[in-house]
């Protein structure tokens, strides 16, 4: 799994994750991703369009990111989640913590509140 963080406008970063989010992959990126999210500041849009698989460790990683963002009183939203991954998120009630938007513009609207 890989990630890229792009500043898209004042106070909002887009975090693009790509590849399978299995246990080994999450182990490989967790520390660096958390550190960069912590340093980024502002709201976060998570783009998961390139993630075809995510298990419980991936979900834990997303929760950790959401907490980091919440601690600075910012908001986080997801977009592009593939249907089967979205089904897992729904059964795990993750969408209560990180809302999902159908596209990038809708995600920005969620962040704007």
């Amino acid at each position: 799994m890989q990630f890229e963080i792009i500043a898209i406008e004042a106070g909002v970063s887009r975090v693009v994750l790509s590849g399978r989010a299995d246990a080994a992959a999450v182990d490989g990126v967790e520390a660096a991703l958390n550190a960069q999210i912590h340093a980024s500041g502002g709201h976060v849009v998570l783009d998961l369009a390139g993630v075809p698989f995510m298990g419980s460790l991936g979900i834990r990683l997303l929760i950790s990111l959401a907490r980091t963002v919440a601690r600075r009183s910012a908001r986080i939203a997801m977009t592009g989640v593939q249907p089967q991954v979205l089904e897992v998120f729904e059964t795990m009630a993750l969408l209560d913590l990180i809302p999902h938007a159908p596209d990038h513009e809708a995600a920005l609207a969620l962040l704007a509140g």
Binding site: A23, G55, S56, T91
Partner: protein, 147 residues
């Protein structure tokens, strides 16, 4: 005997598992190739890989530190369904009977664990646990979902 995909395609496979997450990733690739070769629906394959990930990571994280030294993943086609058996020689543990933490607490509290058991129970179609001698054996069945 296992009955599954059309003749000529391998219909069963046994994979010894090293108890380490990178080895699991490699085993998942082999499992995915096996299922794809048998014509497994993408939706079923996703659920199989998801549940195998959770069961084996439980063994790696919780049984390995307490004595588990080996595990085996067995997969076969049975009447068009995917039958998985996962065995390990760790302490007795039934993932189907272990208490579940409420999801709400796991999401907002400081204990982020406990998702794996939810995923295991919700994403297979049938499951049975047995302690056979010194071995945990978890049998899981996956078939196309109609609803």
């Amino acid at each position: 005997m296992s009955l599954g995909p059309i003749g000529g395609v391998r219909d069963e496979m046994d994979l010894p598992l090293l108890l380490e997450s990178r080895a699991l990733a490699a085993a998942q690739r082999q499992l995915g190739d096996f299922l794809a070769a048998g014509g497994c629906a993408t939706e079923v394959r996703f659920r199989v890989e998801l549940v195998v990930e959770e069961v084996v990571m439980n063994i790696i994280r919780h049984a390995h530190p307490h004595g588990a030294t080996r595990a085996m993943l067995r997969v076969r086609w049975v009447h068009g369904q995917v039958a998985i058996a996962i065995e390990d020689n760790g302490p007795a543990f039934d993932p189907l009977a272990a208490p579940l933490r409420p999801l709400e607490g796991a999401l907002v509290g400081h204990h982020e664990g406990g998702f794996g058991l939810h995923l295991i129970r919700r994403h297979c179609d049938a499951a049975q646990y047995d302690r056979v001698g010194e071995v945990n054996r978890l049998e899981l069945t996956f078939g196309p979902r109609t609803a």
